[in-house]
């Protein structure tokens, strides 16, 4: 053990000693305080497992068409790819190596050995990556109907894959290498191609259910690579710059705070702000027109400046077609609106900024509603067009006349746009309202419902379409959405 390493251990011991000296809650008391959370987690976890097992049993009986069987076979791989993409995305977002701003200020500026200081974090990240990837892959394998031993080996392969990705991301973080970004795009692209293959009913035999011997071989290969990546990551820990370590550590408390207050829009604000800060500067585009047309032109510029949002939105169109291929019937309309909402909400950034900051809204010599309509026009139009692009899938799923399908798809687009506006213009939980006592402390009454914002409007607009996917149903849905949109945009 090096002297520097021993210094870090001694320092940690001292900090632990100080902290223990200030403890005012016993473990039993902490458990008593948190019992609701623990109990809820156990109940919800059991429910989730039960739902997955029931879905597996149900799918075995109902999924008999060849296209459905092919899609089901591919489900495990798609979930696995999704898990890998998710692990890598989170690893890139947070570092994956990070330290708190306090550690960055007080310890990283000293001659202490940086490897010893952050190696615990590497182990923690590797375990977290393995657990996250394994959980998602296990769900996919179970839903795919793989035999139990195959589910086990499949889960093991992706757990090792999660460790491998954390190791690779750490090396890239230390060496400031862009390869990990390319890997993210490759994983996302592979997932998208897989979805397209399922949607057009062209699943290759390689995506069919894997066999146990092949998975064992894969586990040996991926596991070996994971060990090598972890060793390389450990050796590179000393190379990680302080700015890279503190960046994720500064982000994490903000994200945790937003999640703790169930304020998802705040979470979004934090991520958007970080994204643009990292970009630093842009190619200047001069304005056009005056009054509201100047605002509309800026929305065009903004969309051109964020092509990744448009690419993601266009790529997400595969999901409605996938739902149609799987024969979900009218329920695919819910897939359309949910997909559009999740993929398209990022188009309305300016509306979010104006809702959050009254001072910015005051800069415009126009009624607040006129400013909001101007900011909504271009992205709202894109979302309605996105709905229209799902028309063939809607027609395939619900049948009937083409006119009905077109009207239903357009109404879906309007539902997506209105739900996104509802989400983006939501206000944070109001702590001036009466508070309810809970084991987690006092919470305002509006807190629990804040996570439902956007989804409430989505359901309101989708239900008429589910009941009657015709021109009449579309008219009812559009009328409801027009009323909601008018209220949201016009409120002070």
């Amino acid at each position: 053990m090096s002297t520097a390493g021993r210094d870090v251990r001694e320092l940690r011991g001292q900090i632990r000693h100080w902290r223990r000296g200030r403890v005012d809650t016993s473990l039993v008391e902490a458990f008593t305080d948190a019992y609701v959370v623990i109990f809820s987690a156990i109940v919800l976890g059991a429910m989730a497992v039960s739902v997955i097992v029931n879905l597996r049993v149900g799918a075995t009986g109902s999924c008999t068409a060849l296209s459905c069987l092919d899609a089901r076979d591919a489900l495990g791989w798609l979930f696995g790819l999704g898990a890998a993409a998710l692990v890598l995305a989170v690893a890139r977002l947070l570092g994956p190596m990070l330290v708190s701003p306090a550690v960055g200020t007080w310890l990283l500026t000293t001659p202490l050995d940086r490897t010893t200081l952050v190696r615990g974090r590497l182990a923690l990240s590797a375990v977290a990556g393995a657990v996250a990837a394994a959980t998602v892959a296990a769900v996919g394998a179970t839903l795919s109907g793989y035999p139990a031993p195959v589910v086990g080996w499949f889960t093991g392969v992706f757990a090792a894959g999660g460790v491998l990705l954390v190791g690779v991301a750490t090396v890239a973080q230390a060496r400031r290498h862009p390869a990990v970004r390319v890997l993210s795009w490759l994983l996302g692209g592979a997932l998208w191609v897989g979805l397209v293959l399922v949607a057009v009913d062209a699943v290759p035999s390689t995506l069919r259910a894997p066999t146990a011997p092949r998975l064992v071989l894969a586990l040996v290969v991926v596991g070996s690579l994971a060990v090598l990546a972890l060793v390389a990551a450990y050796r590179d820990l000393r190379l990680i710059g302080r700015d890279r370590l503190v960046s994720g550590g500064a982000l994490l408390p903000g994200l945790s705070g937003a999640l703790a207050s169930l304020d998802l829009t705040l979470l979004y604000d934090i991520l958007v702000s970080r994204h643009w800060r990292a970009r630093s500067s842009v190619r200047v585009v001069r304005g056009r027109g005056t009054g509201t047309s100047a605002l509309v032109w800026r929305e065009v510029v903004r969309l051109r400046r964020s092509p990744q949002v448009l690419v993601a939105l266009a790529g997400s169109l595969v999901l409605p077609y996938l739902a149609a291929t799987l024969g979900l019937g009218h329920a695919m309309l819910l897939v359309v609106t949910l997909t559009g909402f999740v993929a398209g909400v990022g188009l309305l950034t300016s509306l979010r900024v104006l809702s959050r900051t009254a001072s910015l809204l005051r800069c415009f010599p126009l009624p607040a509603s006129a400013v909001r309509w101007a900011c909504l026009g271009v992205p709202g139009g894109v979302l309605v067009l996105w709905g229209a692009a799902a028309t063939p899938a809607v027609h395939d799923a619900v049948g009937g006349a083409w006119a009905d399908s077109v009207a239903t798809a357009l109404a879906c687009g309007l539902v997506v746009a209105t739900s996104a506006v509802r989400w983006m213009t939501s206000r944070p939980p109001d702590y001036r309202l009466p508070l309810i006592t809970s084991p987690m402390g006092a919470v305002p009454t509006s807190l629990y419902f804040s996570v439902l914002r956007g989804f409430d409007v989505l359901l309101l607009g989708t239900v008429p379409l589910l009941v009657a996917p015709t021109t009449n149903g579309a008219a009812v849905s559009a009328a409801l959405m027009a009323a909601v949109l008018s209220f949201l945009v016009s409120r002070p």
Binding site: V272, W276, S281, V282, V285, G287, R302, A358, S359, C363
Partner: protein
């Protein structure tokens, strides 16, 4: 310079009558009366917590007073009113920006939204004046606090206005920035604009203000 607090004979641009603001049981402002006329500057003075920012927020219609009235050109100030937004240029301490628009694009957007003719030229001039030309393509999130303050001030000067309301405009400005701000505000007065500012800088107040309203009260 008159420090009497008495209004001049020119019809006031802004008139505040008996304005009171309470937060629960705490009375922050009590019966404030003041006027601002065109071409004159009124400075608000007071210790931290004296209610300067609260008064400015009430004057600009951002917060509603508990009682009393605020009139701009004889009409009650309503922040939602388009004419109020057109005439009032406000720089408060909670100014925020679009994260994905550059410095110059912000000014360009504000100028065009206000219908400024020849917006490109006006924006370039103001940008040069606030010494942000080198940062024209930068996004606001990457600016220093002083640069963000200058951008906020620039947003007030790039558009038509009749009354400037500034909350501690000197905050986070360097020495050169303070000199520029003083000269700019004197030019604004000379051009016939009314100015209401809250400031802790005695030099700025001495140079710009025609009258001073003291919000300090005995403890």
């Amino acid at each position: 310079m008159s420090r009497s607090g008495r209004p001049s004979r020119t019809p006031p641009l802004l008139r505040v009558r008996a304005l009171t603001k309470r937060f629960g049981d705490v009375e922050v402002l009590s019966g404030v009366d003041l006027t601002v006329t065109a071409g004159k500057a009124l400075a608000l003075r007071g210790r931290n917590g004296a209610g300067k920012s609260t008064l400015l927020r009430c004057v600009t219609g951002v917060d509603a007073p508990t009682s009393g009235s605020v009139e701009l050109d004889g009409e009650p100030v309503d922040e939602r009113s388009v004419s109020v937004r057109r005439d009032l240029a406000i720089v408060l301490d909670d100014m925020d920006f679009f994260p994905d628009l550059s410095v110059i694009e912000h000014l360009d957007l504000f100028a065009r939204a206000h219908g400024v003719e020849d917006a490109d030229r006006v924006v370039d001039e103001v940008l040069e004046e606030v010494r942000l030309t080198p940062q024209a393509a930068q996004l606001p999130g990457t600016l220093s606090s002083g640069q963000r303050r200058r951008l906020a001030l620039a947003s007030a000067f790039v558009r038509p206005r009749r009354l400037l309301v500034l909350d501690e405009p000197e905050a986070r400005l360097d020495q050169a920035g303070l000199v520029w701000l003083t000269e700019r505000l004197l030019r604004e007065k000379a051009a016939g604009l009314g100015i209401l500012l809250a400031s802790h800088d005695p030099d700025l107040v001495a140079a710009v203000a025609d009258r001073v309203h003291d919000l300090d009260r005995p403890e």
